[in-house]
Symmetry: C2
Subunit: 167 residues, 2 copies
DNA sequence: TTCCCTGCAAAAGTTTTGCACTACT
DNA sequence: AGTAGTGCAAAACTTTTGCAGGGAA
């Protein structure tokens, strides 16, 4: 059989804003999960969640705060952080710690993926490679450890920045 | 031929204290590189570097500060951070950002490696897997990006913690 | 002797918390 | 009505910086 490791392929996903309908759906999901867990839905939580899902992925708390305040200038940082924590508990977002000091938050999608981060322009590309996933299990087995989660981050220059670097 | 990807194998390295002779050697190297770069050698820098290399890898600034002050109670946090930055500029240490808020510092070794971090006891195991390295280059090529550096971190339970978790 | 280095304290940047008040359910 | 949520400000935590005094070359 000719299939080798390379055939596994790497897929990259586009990140971007969700359609208004999708945002509505996410908010509805948030409501449900809050209720399940005994928390309340509030106007602020809805505003924050809506802005978060509209913006797309990899926002910092600061960016989110600025955007939310355009819509609702009363919201404080504390509520932003508390709501981000709630969204995390509801499995609707992941918290990422790339090399910056500040955390970035990403809407939880269906499937696991890893990240490439451009060191020049900050662009983040998500990708998935099955062979890479499998190898990490192999490594874990060889180390005798139980793998709960993992993080693969590639840093470098994205294709656009490579071009401008050549000038 | 029976050699397949698996044969690449995973090697894990033991991290630990350096012998006094090795520490001396590292300090001498530090002196040389400071001079090359137009910096001075001082008692504090020597103390900090000595304690850093004696302790072994993956220390936080706080741990280093506490240990250094056992030897020299006069040293301030600022000098710890400034000296860590110098050691980094001298290519004698790497700064790592695992999931904690605080950075951890590791003596620069000869070869690149990745990390497994035990989420229960905090133990850090270094490992190297050539196939994993190669695959990352493949992914970078498929994404059309230039790879400058990368980070692979596995999180889970180390063998000891797996055992005690079974009780 | 000349700067660089050091320690202290204060600042900076991100995230959390205490408290009185507000508003969901 | 009752309890959880909110905003503000202050605290917490890690790391950096300004400045006056001290020490290496």
């Amino acid at each position: 059989m000719a299939r080798n490791a390379e055939t596994t392929g790497t897929s990259s996903t586009a990140v971007g804003r969700l359609s208004p309908a999708k945002v509505e759906q996410k908010i509805a999901e948030f409501h449900g999960r809050l209720k399940e867990r005994g928390f309340k839905s509030t106007g602020q939580r809805d505003d924050i969640a809506a802005v978060f899902f509209e913006l797309g992925r990899h926002v910092s708390a600061e960016e989110l705060y600025d955007e939310v305040r355009k819509r609702n200038p009363h919201v404080g940082y504390a509520t932003i952080y508390r709501t981000l924590k709630l969204l995390k508990e509801c499995d609707l977002l992941y918290e990422r710690h790339f090399d910056d000091a500040q955390a970035r938050y990403e809407a939880a999608g269906e499937q696991h993926h890893d990240h490439f981060i451009c060191e020049r322009c900050g662009r983040i590309i998500e990708f998935k490679n099955d062979e890479l996933e499998r190898l990490q299990q192999v490594v874990a087995r060889e180390l005798g450890v139980a793998l709960l989660r993992h993080k693969v981050e590639l840093y470098g220059l994205c294709s656009d920045c490579r071009k401008s670097a050549r000038n």
